[in-house]
Subunit: 206 residues, 2 copies
């Protein structure tokens, strides 16, 4: 279980051991320190993290099932959080908030050499990538598809479109800029411009 | 100079040394063999390639300025080529051909563990990535932006849109599916569906 993922949520039961949060923080920070020191992901073992954080291996295994889940939580602590609540005023507004949070992640990734490095290494490790995918990317995709379904219901989105494809159409341009083109502009109004351009279409209005 | 990049083009001057193409092929195949054997990019030196290909180091350096350029040519040999000519019948048709070639690359990447692996490793090596970016990605972007400019001139594309952003809007969804979501569908009509959805816009027509 992770302090980032669930430990701080207000609806969670109170921990039996009061020092639990401090211990988890030490483990997450110890792992981050190893990454900051340039140790490759592949060479960071639970044993080494335990040594750096000054805890026993069992203490780590009590909280994370393996190093993959631990890495994902380290990333989540370092990255901007996804929005917990969407405005709900319109599909357009919700999509802009979702895209804006991708832009924020892109900016964070650019300004942090460690984040950038970890992301790059993660792609070479199918297990870590799968853990990140399941706990970060998949929930974000589900939120996007949900917004689009509401848009089809209230008439903001063409009802004949496949929402899975529309989701890729919406996140695609932002991900290209934020992830695939590290030299590309990420201006403040980018989320809004993408969403409005997509809604109106590329064809001139006659 | 590379046999893939320019050596085989019909308008190139005839080589002084007749065995040149065979030598280049041996070097490219030797590098590919090392990758197939699972040797990490970082551990493949020009010396090791020379040994595997049965040539001298000088023979390699006569053709490539360094291992970055050589790797890029190995990738280009293994990946589907970009279209040399666009239909030119309409912006829509040209965009579909460009997106279809991204889809083909995505399919090739999925079916080839080596391609997939090299792409992942490349992201960790700024120099190789820069070489790939300059000789593969940048020309492809330029072709896309050129198609969009023609579309603005002939009235197929809204004249008030920033073509750089539109290019990301068009390639984004395909790249998300082909590169970032290796588990996503890449159906045959995907290029056409993306382009037509973008042209028409997501908003219902009243």
């Amino acid at each position: 279980m992770s302090f980032v993922g669930s430990g701080t949520a207000p609806d969670q039961p109170v921990r039996g051991r009061p020092r639990s949060e401090a211990v988890e923080r030490a483990i997450l920070e110890g792992t981050m320190k190893l990454l900051e020191d340039g140790v490759p992901l592949a060479e960071i073992s639970i044993e080494r993290i335990a040594r750096t954080a000054g805890v026993g291996k069992a203490t780590i295994y009590r909280r994370w099932s393996g190093k993959e889940e631990l890495f994902v939580d380290v990333l989540r602590t370092a990255e901007p959080q996804d929005p917990e609540q969407l405005p709900g005023t319109s599909m357009r507004d919700d999509l802009i908030v979702l895209l804006e949070s991708l832009r924020q992640r892109g900016l964070a990734n650019r300004s942090s050499a460690i984040l950038h490095n970890v992301h790059a290494q993660m792609k070479s490790s199918p297990k870590i990538w799968a853990a990140y995918h399941n706990s970060v990317i998949l929930p974000r995709r589900r939120a996007g598809v949900e917004v689009l379904r509401r848009g089809q219901q209230n008439g903001e989105l063409r009802a004949d479109l496949d929402v899975e494809l529309v989701n890729d159409i919406i996140v695609g341009p932002m991900l290209v800029r934020a992830v695939l083109r590290p030299e590309a502009d990420l201006p403040e109004d980018l989320a809004e411009r993408i969403v409005d351009t997509l809604l109106a279409g590329l064809r001139p209005v006659n």
